[in-house]
Each structure stands twice: as C-alpha cells, then as structure tokens.
C-alpha cells in the first residue's frame, strides 16, 4: 500500500512539471504586460521594475529561476498586490475555498446518496419519478443560474440568508447548495442505478429470507456494495468543484482562491495565475490518488501495485 502510494506520487510529478511549464509558457507568450498603464512610464522606471522581477533576463533563465523558487515553496511576489507574496495570498484564500468545497461535498453526499436510495427502493412510483426529475433538473441547471435565483429569492425577496460575503455559517449555506446541486443530481442518479442492480442480487434475497429488517438490508447490505461507483467519480468531482468555485465565489463575493484567480486573470498578474493553477493541479493529482486508495480499501477485488 505504502509502496503504491509513493509510486503514484512519483507519477504525479511529471504532470505537475508539465503544468508548471505550460502555464509559464502561456503567461510569457501573452502580448501586453502587467505594468502596461494608461500613462507611459519613464524608461528608467520600467527598467527598474523589470530588474526587480527578473523580467530583463532571458526566458530560459526566468524559467529556471521560477522552477527553483517553486521547489522552495516560494511562488514569487504578486505583481498587483504590491508587497504581498503569492504564497501568502494562497495561504489566506485556500482555507476559504476548501471550507466551501467541503460544505458542497456535504450537500452532494447528503442529498445525492439518500435521494438515490429512496428512488431505487420505491422504483417506478411517484417518489422515484420525482427524485429522478429533480436530479435531471439539478444536472441541467448551470450553477450561476441556480446561484442567482437563490440570491434573488432567499436574500432579496425573503431576506432569509445573506446574499454575499463570508462572515459566518449563515453565509455558507447558499453557496454550498449552488455549488453542490449539480453533482448531487449526478450522484443521486448513479446511486439509484447501482442500488437497483444490487437489489436484484441473490444475497439480498438471502438477507431478506433470514428475516433481516428492511433498513438493515438496504443500508448494510445493499448500500455497501453499491458505493464503489460513487467513490470512483469523486476524483473528477474535485476538479469540478475547483472550477465551480470560480463562479460561486464570484456570485457570492467570497474571498477565496477562485475569485482571486479571476481577478488575477483580468489584471494579468502572472505569478498569481501560475501559483493558483499549480495549487489546483496538485489538488487534483492528490485527489485522484486518494480516490484510487479508497477504492482499493473498500473493494478487496481491486489490487494495488500491479
């Protein structure tokens, strides 16, 4: 297990180097720099700025300087937030985005799995059909549409919840729902399908014949064997939550990594763009490893290291 884990980490490294190189390349091919202003700056000042950020060095030197800095955990200074390091900005905004993401996962699993179980158990009834309908609706509605409808309805009309900012538990509810609803619908449909398959299996009939109660059959025997497909989509789900958070943090003015990323793109703040992209890449590589490990841990038929 440990050997496999180390091996997967090693496999992740080339991916991260590629991502770092690609973002570096893209950022330096872009026309227009971060210090282009309305007013023309005197050439001496431009020269000073370029010297400070090593922009006057050849591209190859800049590349190796950048890679060396990354290895030391230093993502360089931000061009726009003067006097602040990218690492410091990320350290400050990452926990916010992580909290939002975890709350969304709670929404996804809390709505998706029970929804799927209920729909499968009462299959082909009105309950099943309404669950499937809601799930399809959740999958089809773009998160920014759901987000704006929630803000308009629950905040502006009913005044139940705050429409924006990040100041306490009440501020988490709407963003988490808006971010999670689509995936919840997806998980619900997936759970429904797998539970339907499992419920037809012989061992379920055996369990019922032994006189076990329905909740025991459903939750202990059926759910345990139908959870694997759900675990396997958790990897792509992390990637989806990352990009979903751009939109949600924009709508709800949440000071997370996503909204800083968007601002960085508009400001051409290259170090910040590259830093945030790298953090996302690391996150996704790690998430995929964790999902594979969980898969092997849950399902004894999957063997690692081969």
């Amino acid at each position: 297990m440990l050997l496999y884990f180390c091996k997967r980490i090693l496999y992740g490294i080339p991916v991260l180097i590629t991502v770092a190189t690609l973002t570096f390349g893209i950022m330096h091919l872009v026309p227009g720099g971060p210090f282009d202003t309305e007013k023309k700056l005197p050439p001496e000042i431009i020269a000073n700025i370029e010297a400070k950020y090593h922009l006057n060095e050849p591209l190859v030197t800049q590349y190796f300087l950048y890679m060396k800095q990354i290895l030391q955990g230093d993502l360089g200074p931000s061009y726009k937030y003067i006097g602040r390091d990218v690492s410091a900005i990320i350290a400050e905004t990452f926990p916010v985005s992580l909290t939002l993401g975890l709350c969304a996962v709670v929404v996804i699993l809390g709505l998706g799995i029970p929804g799927g179980i209920v729909a499968a158990y009462w299959r082909d009834t009105a309950i099943d059909r309404s669950c499937v309908f809601l799930a399809t609706l959740g999958i089809s509605v773009p998160s920014f549409v759901l987000g704006t409808v929630l803000v308009w309805g629950l905040s502006h009309k009913l005044h139940w919840l705050p429409p924006a900012l990040w100041e306490g538990p009440r501020h988490v509810i709407m963003p988490a729902i808006a971010l999670g609803a689509g995936f919840a619908g997806y998980i619900a449909r997936l759970t429904r399908t797998t539970i339907l398959d499992v419920l037809a299996a012989d061992y379920i009939r055996t369990a019922r014949a032994k006189g076990l109660s329905e909740p025991t059959v459903l939750l202990k025997h059926a759910l345990k064997n139908s959870i694997y497909p759900v675990v396997s989509v958790m990897g792509p789900l992390v990637a989806g939550l990352v990009t979903g958070s751009f939109v949600i943090e924009f709508i709800f003015s949440i000071p997370g990594m996503g909204s800083f990323f968007i601002t960085a793109v508009t400001n051409r703040d290259y170090p910040l763009i590259m830093g945030v992209t790298l953090v996302y890449a690391v996150l996704i590589v790690l998430a995929n490893i964790v999902v594979d490990m969980m898969y092997a841990w849950l399902d004894p038929r999957v063997s690692l290291g081969k």
Binding site: V15, V19, I139, V145, A239
Partner: protein, 268 residues
C-alpha cells in the same frame, strides 16, 4: 426511430425554433440589438418590449435573439470541430495500437490533467477574449473527450470478425477504416454531438458570466446574464430571461441526447 420519447421530440422542436430565430434574427427580432431608447430604460416586461429593456433602453428580447446566434454558434461549431479532430486522432490512435497509441494517449492525458474551465481561461489569456479566442480554447479542450471515446470504440470494433474478413480479403487500411469501421461510429458520434453541445454552451456562458468570456460588441446569453447580475435586486428580469434561455437550451440538448442514445446506441 420507433421509440423516440415525447420529451426528446419536444426538445428537438424547441431547438429548431431557437436555431431558426437565431439564423433569421434580423427578421424575427422586433428591434435591433443596439437601438437605445433612453426614455424607456429598465422597463419591466410589457406589450411593446416583451421581456423588458436594459439600462440603455435596449429591447431584451431582441438582444436575446441576437445572443442566441453567438451562444449557439459557439456551442455547435466548437463541438463539430472537436468531434472532427477527436475522431481522426482517436481513430488513428486506436487503429495503430501499440506504441503509437500509448504515445498519443499520453498527450491526451496531459490535456485531461487540468479542469476544462481552468484550461479555457488560460488559453483565452493567450488568445484574447473575442469569439475566436473562446472558439479555439473550447475546441482545444473538448476534442480529447471525443478522442478517448473513439479510440475505445475503434479498439473494440477492429477485433470484430467483419473487419478481420475485410483484412483477409486484402483491403487497405484506408478502405477498412472508411468502409468497415467508420459506419459503426456514426451513431455514437451523433449522440456525442448532442451531449457535447450543451457542455460547450455552458462553458461559454459561464465564462461570459464571470466576465472572462465574450466581450462587446458581441454578446451571448452569458454576457447578457452578466449585465443583468449587477441589477438583480431591483430588475431581476434582466438576468432571469437570459438564464432561462441557457437552462432550457441545455435541458433540451440533454433530453434530445438521451432519446438519441436509446434509439441509436446498440449497447443500450
């Protein structure tokens, strides 16, 4: 096509209507998309302006019809191009097999490593945010999904007996691919088309909504929603109608795709 559900038929009808309105926008739209009526700004829906007007007094209904041009064009054109590239790439990779396949799939893996929206944003930083930039970025991201799918199918089909028979008869690789393998891919490509178009429309509208997508003078439904967002508290119609247009279009493509899948995919 004996079993094509009602939801898919209605969706097809809806999409045809939207597409026709977009194509014939100058004749369908009651106003031009840039005519400003400063005496009539921020009007709620009324008999003259069916969906109300924006802060410059422009008719929202007309702007949405013109917006459909941008949204649908981006969705359909990028998907068609991505399917062309992905099919050729995936077919070559799957048909060649062995080391070529391995190498070609590594490249696909790299594109897959980052989430689509993040990649698109990075590419548009390079390409600029016009229609062209978004178009290139979306295509560059979405062809890999098609390539993976087609490769898998080709790997399966090339082992089937009728392909073996053609090979035994001395058919060339090109002939085997065009006459034996490709006809078996058509169904799955049509289904993919129907499921990938809404993904592209969603990506574009999301980008435009957060202000990183289509920029003026063009405006897509996402741009219109972004315009309306700042006034959501007092003039909700400005964001409501463009959002609904995006939502119903995506829903219709998904229903259509599900119907097509049940009708065309031999595996279901």
């Amino acid at each position: 096509m004996k079993h094509f559900p009602l939801s898919s038929r209605l969706s097809a009808l809806f999409l045809v209507a939207v597409a026709l309105a977009a194509i014939f926008a100058p004749w369908v739209a009651p106003f031009s998309y840039e005519t400003q009526d400063t005496a009539n700004t921020l009007a709620s829906p009324n008999p003259a302006n069916w969906l109300g007007t924006d802060r410059l007094g422009r008719d929202l209904f007309s702007r949405m019809i013109y917006g459909a041009r941008v949204s649908l064009f981006i969705g359909v054109a990028t998907t068609v191009l991505a399917i062309l590239i992905g099919t050729v790439y995936g077919a070559v990779s799957g048909y060649a097999g062995k080391r070529t396949d391995n190498l070609m799939m590594r490249i696909v893996d790299v594109v897959f490593a980052l989430p689509d929206l993040l990649m698109i944003i990075l590419i548009t930083v390079l390409m600029g945010r016009g229609v062209t930039g978004i178009f290139i970025a979306l295509t560059m991201v979405s062809w890999v999904t098609v390539a993976r799918l087609v490769r898998g199918e080709v790997l399966r089909i090339k082992e089937l007996t009728f392909v073996e028979a053609a090979r035994a008869l001395g058919a060339s690789h090109a002939r085997i691919f065009v006459r034996e393998i490709f006809p078996n891919l058509v169904g799955i490509l049509i289904i993919t088309l129907s499921f990938r178009i809404p993904v592209a429309i969603l990506a574009e509208s999301t980008l435009s909504f957060i202000g990183l997508g289509i920029s003026p003078p063009f405006s897509s439904w996402g741009t219109l929603a972004n315009d309306g967002w700042t006034a959501v508290k007092f003039y909700p119609h400005l964001i409501l109608f463009p959002s609904l247009a995006i939502f119903f279009t995506i829903l219709a493509f998904n229903f259509l795709g599900e119907g097509l899948r049940d009708a065309l995919d031999p595996r279901t």
